[in-house]
Amino acid sequence: MPKENTANKQSVYVVDGARSPFLRARGRPGKFAAADLALQSAQPLMLRQPFIAEELDEVILGCVGAAANEANIARVVSLRLGCGDAVPAWTVQRNCGSGLQAVDTAFRNIANGNSNIILAGGVEAMSQAPLMFNRAMVDLISDLYQAKSVGQKISALAKIRPGHLKPVISLLIGLTDPVVGLSMGKTAEILASRFKISKEDMDAYAVRSHQRLTAAQNEGRMGEIEVVYDQDGKSYAADDGVRPDSNVDSLSNLKPVFDRNHGLVTAGNSAQVTDGAAWVLLASEAAVKQYKLMPLGRIVDCDWAGLSPAEMGLGPAYAASALLKNNKLGIADIDYWEINEAFAAQVLACVRALADKEFCRAELDRSSAIGEIDQERLNVDGGGISLGHPVGASGARIVLHMLKTLQRTKSVRGIASLCIGGGQGGAMLLENTNV
């Protein structure tokens, strides 16, 4: 369709969305490659549109670490989805913000008139993160390949020691900050200390996350999920990391995993390692009219912020502050919040930071506290702790679920936000256009 050549910002609508169930990693690599999850959740989404995949202007997919055979995974999925050769597709990487970055970029490309319909989302198959040889082993194998004579080969092989076989777990490396050397869990420990968040607070938060997701599942609020089928034909229809019977007592017994001696952050109050994909379909005003689309809502704005990598979990506070300021809004104007649950400590720290006058003055350049987020309006259907945090996918998931929440509650405004490893935060302002 013709592109409007206007420098003015055009309205950008989210007209539909879908995601795969989020499937918890269970020791071995999961049944689905990242591209399979992205593809299978996008197929029904595209089939229910009045336009076909070839009519998309582009496909943008966030992913932190695609498999070696999924380089530019967006293009892999786009071609397998039947978008055809002519639809460009590209992958964005901003760690945990990748999925939100994909949506933001799609939003901007439509707002400035470059595109009319974009399929944007995020995907991660964390269970598929490879085990790698360590450096000593790689050197040894290289020497072996270069050895010409049998003698050289034997002497290269003879150097092998048990230590050579110790694998490098790429997932753990990915979850460790490459600049300050802290694991993501340690950065949550730092926030817990700074904002005096107790283990009891964290565990209570985690239990609530599971309860909220359980309720959402029972009450049919997870309609955004499309069923996926594995190689054996088995179908997966729901997030499988939820523990409906989770309680504070059982969580209190868990040992800290990141700071084993003095820490508070456990596997129970952290996000689960999970595989999943999430998509939203964005459309311009013109496309909405042409295809008579029924928007879920509108993307109003998106802001990004940087902060110390050691306190990366506070990213949402910084980004949301900027977003509110730019749109001249206060806490009271926001009906619902999604702050991605990387760690219970980190979400609670964001809530406390925004309500803390000193913090807001010193860090956010505000004259007073921004205000306290009502936790009844925060992550109302659970989050990363109960349904998992496939890092590249979560950003797209919270955008989609926020729009569904606004629609369900007939509310107006919501913010979807997440913290980003490396010390960043992203926040997107969404508006229900049906009220």
């Binding site: 089939l47 229910r48 034909g233 179908s235």
Partner: protein, 689 residues
């Protein structure tokens, strides 16, 4: 670097030859007025003339290629087979081919066959006469010697040259089964020297001509196998293996080929002559004529779309993910369609997806092809696919109310030009169509189980059916590489209706005390692929019973009471582990074979086959299909009815119409009404022209 001005070109009717600057002659086979090349008599004349021309000024090399998109050479001119009537005629035409190919073999400069697509029968024999063969591997290639499927074996030196090239152990199975090889497999076996992408075909041919690599020699094993000591032993084993699949009496060709190799395998010239003698005999055997007929029937069914107005289905929506629905969906995806597969909930689609993945794994060695097929098959319990579908196939339970409710929901959602089809086998097309907003749009597409094996699909129309929709249905069946059989909707359609009295008679025989294995053996010895008792067990006795109930009501056929009794006892066939036979791991347990039958084998065969033939006549009379050829095609490709007979109607003609009718009347006197000759017998000659 252009050599255009130096290229010389000579044209014949079916061939043109270009000579490039390097002196290489490129001989393009390009049959006039045809989309495929066949080795017709005219083609041989042109080949001969072209070789004469080349000999006057010998090129530095000679490359054979095809100018047709469809492939190199599809084989001999099968139509010409029907014009050959004496052994002498066969020998004469065989000698033309043999001496032509001998001439190519002895041409004196390096020769290359640059193959793409089809290279079958005489086409491969030509290629085998060249020094080198290369095949294009980025489009589907089919390389083989399928003569045996026509009741003969290679005749232009193919058996001699293929055995010489790759040894008897590899060569014989290719010729005995008639199965074709793809590019990869042909290279693996050494049938071709190289498999390369299309863009390299010319340059590799030039390289071969320039470098003249030594011709490949077969290994020690192949040489040992071909000794006069080893051949009789191996030949005996090959005959045993072949006899497990077909009988020598019905299918003499593979046995003749083994015999030929056994007696003459050590001497190329003797074997070449033996080839001609043997093939001349085979040609005169009735089986060859009938198998040629079967081939022509197949071509006829394939050609049914020729005059249609370009319906190119791309998306198929299948409703009902049971065994049939799921397998239809998987087959369509395998053949390149985008498919959405609907059922009530995901759990009903699971086993279909599992079976589909197994099918893709079996059919596609290449993992990217496999993945693409998988991606094309989309489970769709929310029914999003309907609005996109070019063809919608309903395969839900055989219950009119359920179907009517479904059609009410889907009809308004169909694309304007979409074909709407039901796979029902027991409900009349008009009974469903009458409930539609537009009754003329519904057609029947009746697939057979297992879908991936059974080539036939009955395409059905009722009186109200729009002919354009019906034709589109035929188009669709061709688009998924199945054989469409156009027929009129009536109970049982064609295939099941004709098969049923045959099955019921088998049950009667069983009831009368004829041992089951005796009945089944009698049928397989007649030439059926599977005995009727085993077939009933395999289909499932409950399914047989429900279809039989509907048909017996509609056609006034008496039902043996034993069937319902067995079903009451949960004896349902293979699936319940017990039907007529007992089953262990899906295989029948025969126990000791009983031979104490109250009837002779001939009597048993006659009772089953005559009832079948009588039903054929009834179908002809009712005009279920347009002609006897279609009926034969339907029974051969839909049930495996003994192909060497040429189909039931052809068999009936051979058996004698009035004789067969008399036999029926005798049986009627003895056993009653179910053998009463149909009214159609009196006008039978009009159907058989």
């Amino acid at each position: 670097m252009s050599s255009e001005n130096k290229t010389q070109r000579r044209e014949y009717k079916n061939i043109y030859v270009e000579r490039d600057a390097a002196g290489i002659a490129w001989l393009y086979i390009d049959q006039a007025d045809s989309s495929a090349n066949v080795l017709s008599a005219e083609m041989f004349i042109d080949l001969d003339a072209a070789m004469d021309g080349l000999l006057k000024d010998p090129p530095s090399g000679l490359v054979f290629l095809s100018n047709k998109k469809s492939g190199f050479i599809a084989g001999a001119d099968v139509k010409a087979f029907t014009r050959v009537h004496t052994e002498a005629q066969v020998k004469e035409s065989i000698e033309v081919g043999q001496s032509m190919f001998n001439r190519i073999e002895a041409f004196g400069v390096p020769t290359v066959a640059a193959i793409h697509g089809f290279c079958l029968g005489g086409g491969l024999e030509l290629a085998l006469a060249c020094d080198y063969r290369i095949v294009c591997d980025d489009e589907p290639a089919r390389i083989g010697l399928p003569e045996v499927l026509l009741g003969i074996h290679p005749g232009f030196g193919g058996s001699v040259r293929l055995i010489r090239l790759i040894g008897a152990l590899s060569a014989m199975p290719i010729m005995l089964t008639g199965r074709s090889l793809n590019a990869r497999r042909a290279k693996q076996l050494g049938v071709v020297d190289d498999a390369v992408p299309r863009r390299h075909l010319r340059s590799v041919a030039i390289k071969l001509i320039k470098n003249k690599p030594l011709l490949k020699r077969k290994g020690i094993l192949a040489t040992l196998v071909n000794t006069s000591l080893a051949r009789p032993l191996i030949a005996r084993y090959m005959k045993q293996q072949t006899a497990k699949k077909v009988s020598e009496q019905h299918y003499p060709a593979p046995f003749a080929l083994i015999e030929l190799w056994k007696s003459k395998g050590g001497n190329d010239q003797a074997m070449m002559k033996g080839e001609a003698d043997s093939i001349a005999k085979l040609f005169m055997h009735p089986t060859a004529k009938r198998l040629v007929r079967v081939f022509m029937l197949q071509e006829q069914l394939k050609g049914l779309i020729a005059n249609d107005g370009g319906f190119e289905p791309r998306h198929v929506h299948v409703i009902g993910a049971g065994v049939m629905g799921g397998d239809i969906a998987a087959w369509c995806a395998l053949k390149g369609m985008r498919v959405t597969l609907q059922d009530r909930a995901p759990e009903y689609i699971e086993s279909a997806m599992q079976r589909a993945n197994k099918l893709f794994k079996r059919r596609f060695k290449d993992k990217y092809e496999r993945q693409a097929a998988k991606d094309r098959l989309i489970p769709d319990h929310k029914s999003y696919g309907i609005e996109h579908a070019d063809v919608v196939i309903e395969v839900i339970i055989e219950n009119l109310d359920a179907k009517v409710a479904l059609y009410k929901d889907i009809e308004p959602r169909l694309k304007k030009n979409a074909v709407l089809a039901t796979n029902t086998s027991s409900i009349g097309l008009e009974d469903i169509a009458n409930h539609l907003e537009n009754p003329s749009r519904l057609i029947g597409l009746h697939f057979f189980n297992p879908v991936a094996k059974m080539q036939l699909v009955e395409v059905l129309k009722a009186d109200v059916t729009d002919l354009a929709q019906f034709k589109k249905g035929i188009c669709f069946v061709r688009a998924i590489d199945r054989l469409p059989l156009p027929a009129k909707s009536s109970p049982g359609f064609l295939v099941n209706r004709i098969l049923l009295p045959y099955l019921l008679e088998a049950v009667e025989l069983y009831d009368e005390g004829v041992p089951m294995t005796f009945i089944d053996d009698a049928a397989t010895r007649f030439g059926m692929p599977m005995g009727p008792i085993l077939l009933a067990d395999t289909v499932g006795l409950d399914i047989c019973h429900s279809v039989a109930l509907i048909l017996s009501k509609a056609l006034g056929m008496p039902m043996p009471s034993i069937l319902s009794k067995m079903i009451d006892e949960e004896r349902l066939g293979v699936k319940s582990g017990m039907g007529f036979y007992k089953y262990k791991n899906g295989k029948p347990v025969y126990g000791k074979k009983q031979t104490n039958s109250p009837l002779t084998e001939k009597e048993v065969q006659d009772r089953m086959i005559l009832r079948l033939l009588n039903e054929c006549v009834a179908c002809m009379r009712e005009g279920i299909v347009d002609n006897a050829a279609l009926l034969d095609a339907g029974m051969i490709f839909g049930t495996g009815f003994a192909p060497f007979t040429g189909g039931p109607m052809h068999y009936l003609e051979d058996r004698g119409i009035s004789e067969t009718r008399n036999e029926l009347e005798l049986l009627e006197k003895k056993y009653g009404d179910r053998f009463k000759p149909d009214a159609g017998w009196t006008e039978l000659h009009t159907y058989l022209t």
